[in-house]
């Protein structure tokens, strides 16, 4: 072996060993900051002309850098970060064109062009190119054969280079490909809920239920999913199956108005007016959105709760009056509130006398109860008889004497004073009522329905 050959082998061995060691050995670990810089350089600043997020110093570039840093610290993949940014800013934020669709051409065309150029060079360098036409063949046959050869070669080159280009496009798009490939969980519970809503608006109830179930798989304590899963089940007629979902929803977030509303409706359908009343009260104190109020009005929940309450109270009272000897009020299971509801219902039914007797019976046991007193007064006031009106005012005065901030007393006396031709007095009571920290909604409605405020302001 010549000295040259030995020297060559030695040089190649040294170079190869150094190269292999350097290529295989892991360098110092890359920090998150390094990764942030690399990523920032791969995305276009959305408002800058031709500068990357890394280069630019405008606020949006700073915000995106900050967010990329957060994602990198969270250990997100490049694909995830890319997907997030593209979802928000559109595909042109990504400096790496995607390897699919028409954009794949940007990867494929250079390989085709490269192959074409290489083919031309190879043809030019082919030894004996100039001698070819001098072969013994007939010119006609030779030309045809050369055409065929050229065509075959062209097709082969195009196919091979095109395939290679597609591979490059695919691999270059690896960062750009969808998150499903890298195994990131893309759907969140919110997205599933959104999907369910859309299915629902398309009338696909089964699909919506399935989507809510998926949302609950991702996040079992999702209040919205629990609530609507239960609600939809109840709309399909399965009240028993619906109840646990709604109960869970209320347990997770007692202030979620939708859950309260739906549970009230379900309870009403099951004939449980008391539970419905409790949920309705919680609903009223939960800052419900307008659509929930609309649904409430549409399904007449308030009215049905009131009816159920009336019915229950009347039944209780009727059961008592069926007894030969009425026991003392305190010996019964009734509360003052029940008695007031029943008296109201009796009065509405036209049995004013019975209503009055009922409250008198209550007052025998609770002579100082302001609610009972004001209820008793109200029965007289609403009779519109001038004499009874005066007596009614006495009851109301008594009630307010015991508790000056008794809400029902104030409202009833305002009505009474108005009917008695004392608008200033009525106005005083009403403004005292308005000043109360907690105003029962049914009294507010009474004032509005009867147009008292409007009448007084005239």
């Amino acid at each position: 072996m010549s000295r040259h050959a030995v020297s060559w082998i030695a040089a190649v061995l040294v170079a190869g060993a150094a190269f292999l060691y350097g290529a295989v050995d892991e360098g110092p670990p890359r920090t998150n900051a390094d990764r942030v810089r690399d990523l920032a350089g791969d995305f276009a600043c959305p408002v800058c002309a031709g500068q990357s997020v890394g280069e630019s110093d405008v606020p949006v570039a700073r915000e995106i850098r900050r967010q990329i840093a957060v994602w990198v610290d969270e250990g997100r993949s490049d694909a995830y970060i890319r997907d997030q940014l593209v979802a928000a800013y559109d595909a042109d934020i990504d400096y790496n064109p995607s390897g699919s669709g028409i954009t794949a051409l940007v990867w494929v065309l250079p390989l085709l062009a490269g192959a074409g150029i290489a083919a031309v060079v190879v043809v030019m360098l082919r030894p004996g190119r100039a001698a070819a036409p001098d072969s013994g063949e007939l010119p006609e046959v030779g030309r045809r054969r050369r055409w065929r050869n050229a065509a075959a070669w062209t097709v082969a080159i195009v196919v091979v280079a095109g395939a290679a280009g597609l591979l490059v496009a695919r691999s270059s798009g690896s960062r750009t490909s969808g998150g499903s490939i890298t195994g990131e969980i893309r759907s969140t519970a919110r997205e599933k809920i959104f999907e369910a809503q859309q299915r629902l608006s398309d009338g696909d109830m089964a699909g919506a239920i399935a989507a809510y179930d998926e949302a609950l798989e991702i996040q079992p304590s999702n209040v919205e999913a629990l609530t609507y899963r239960g609600w939809l089940t109840s709309r399909q007629g399965d009240l028993a199956a619906a109840a646990p979902y709604l109960d869970d929803a209320v347990a997770v977030d007692p202030a979620y108005p939708d859950a309260r509303l739906f549970r009230a409706i379900v309870a009403l359908e099951e004939g449980d007016g008391a539970s419905a009343a409790r949920d309705l009260a919680a609903f009223d104190s939960s800052d419900p959105p307008p659509y929930a109020e609309q649904l409430l009005a549409q399904s007449r929940v308030r009215e049905r709760v009131a009816e159920a309450r009336d019915t229950a109270a009347l039944e209780a009272v009727d059961a008592l009056s069926a007894l030969d000897e009425r026991p003392a009020f305190t010996d019964t299971a009734l509360t003052v509130a029940d008695a007031l509801v029943a008296s109201e219902a009796l009065a509405n039914r036209g049995d004013l006398l019975e209503a009055v007797q009922l409250l008198d019976w209550v007052l025998e046991s609770h002579p100082d109860d302001p609610d009972a007193l004001s209820g008793r007064g109200w029965l007289l006031v609403r009779s519109s008889d001038a004499e009874l009106l005066a007596v009614g005012v006495d009851y109301l005065d008594a009630a307010l004497g015991i508790d000056p901030s008794n809400a029902s007393g104030l409202v009833y006396r305002a009505f009474a004073r108005w009917q008695l031709g004392d608008p200033p007095g009525a106005r005083a009571d009403l403004s005292a009522f308005d000043a109360l920290p907690h105003r029962p909604p049914d009294l507010v409605r009474l004032v509005e329905d009867q147009g008292l405020r409007a009448a007084l302001s005239r």
């Binding site: 040294v14 190269f19 360098g27 031709g50 280069e55 064109p97 940007v106 030894p127």
Partner: protein, 655 residues
Amino acid sequence: MSNVAAGSAAVAAGLAAALLGIAVTALGLVGRYPRWGHAARLLTFIMATAAVAGVAVMERALITRDFTVKFVADNGSSTTPPIFNVATLWSALEGSILLWALVLCGYTVAVAVRFRRRGSDPMVAWALLVMFMVSAFFFALMVGPADPFIGVDVPAGYDGPGPNPLLQNHILMAFHPPILYLGYVGFTVPFAFAVAALATGRLGEGWLASTRRWTVAAWGFLTFGIVLGAWWSYETLGWGGYWAWDPVENASFLPWLTGTAYLHSVMVQERRGMLRVWNLSLVIATFSLTILGTFFTRSGVLASVHSFTESGIGPAILGFFAVIVTVSLALIAWRGDLLRTPGRIAAPVSREGAFLANNALFAAFAFVVLLGTVFPLLVEAFDGRTISVGNPYFDRMTRPVGFALLFLMAVAPMLPWGGASRRPPAELLGRRLLVPVWIAAAVLVLAVLGGARGWAPLLAFGLGGFAGGAALRQIVLAVRRHRWRGLVGRTNGGMIVHLGVVLVAVAFAASQSYVRQAEFDLEAGRQASFAGHEIAYLGSAVLSHDNRTERVAFVRVDDAKTYGPAIATYPFASQTIGIPSVRSTLRDDVALAVLSFPDEAGPDRVILRVTVQPLVAWLWLGGIVMAAGTVLSLLPAGSRRRQPEEAVATAEPVP
């Protein structure tokens, strides 16, 4: 005489001279005017005088802050420092066209003077005709849509906004554009002669010989202009980046690629008479691409930091581009039969074979860059979607081409021309490449010992060592043989340019692969340690300049010098402008950029971005070496008897 009137008159005179020049040379060509040469030469002088006058008037207006000139009112300012006041000429569109016209007129005069003895030669007449036409186009732009001398009434006490702050905070801005233009516009000369060759049908090697030095000079200016541009972005943008594959950067790089390909392939035609169409195409492509680049920069079609503000001259330039390409292609098609190559390549493994491969690689490189640059526009036109093509694409697609080019750079200079040597090429290569291989091995070992990891940068270092070793070997042999004359002439100068390219390639690979960056939140008196450097924040101060207010952070690097990166506020700019500061050594650069001073009221704190990049200085060094090599290659070769490359081809290898 007001500046507006004087300037407009100068521009009009220039246009008139160019049009007259077209008429005179055309008459000369049809034989109606035998003494056309004198008249044409005179007209080039008049045209150039007009351009000089135009520039002088504009500079006078800028220096005296004559705000009755709209260009000055829009771009000048009483507070701009003097040097940037001069440079304001090329910081906005109209002035840049004026500068372009000045450079073009300079080249036209030079051609007219250089070829004055060939007054009867239709080739020269055609070339001058083309140059007059191009000049007329640029003067027409200034008469029409890009008029730099529009008068405007400004209220008393008016002061202009000054140029874009980024364009007035670094001295390189004063040099980068004019040098780049010298390169861009210089390619008009070979283009003019290429068209002349096509028109006259004298498609041999005559026009190549006539324009060789012109092309090399233009290429040198373009190269140095691009390097200066990269240097400028590195120094002013504060991100540690110097090349971002921005559309306008690509627009300057495309003619460089085709021009470089031409400089190599031209040797094949000189030697073998081959590649006539190819060389013509490369010259035409290079010139067309400079015009296309001008369109990108000035039409606002592609978003780029370097873009001028939008203007109405886009369609005019695009139309000019279309005319150039159409006419050139038509001429080539018309001369198709004369362009058949008489020669052929004798052996695939030969100097000409290597040049052919080199050209294939440069063509592929240019295709990738052009496609990547215009692809978003194509997609938008055909698909309606907007996409971006940037860094990741260009890096991935151009890297293999770069490796292949480095490899060829090592091998090609060692290969004999086909048939020049009786020994088989493998044996020759075995002898001649031994030293470069050992140098490559040494570079690799040093790099790995120095901590370099990863296959891509190591491959770049290895191939860089290989190519650099080959260039060094040639230079050493030439110097041994010819003393100092071994450094001059096309081949030897070319080897020095190769050394510069290797420096740039190695610096590019190292700085891109091993960049480290971090942000630090430092209170005054605190210091941080990063990537082997100690960064200490000493405190800050507010400095008031005429045109800006700066808050400077004093930062000491490695217990040595103190640097002053700053944030500047310009009265007319909405954003603050960072002024980075770089500590540069041959080993690595520490770039400091202030992101913000977060606490206005509290203790003196700074958010400092520190970028540590190895070998960045080699980029600028490489640029200087390339420029030097270009100058050397323009000097006449010492020995007329033999080109040193042939001498090398028969020399015994160094043991």
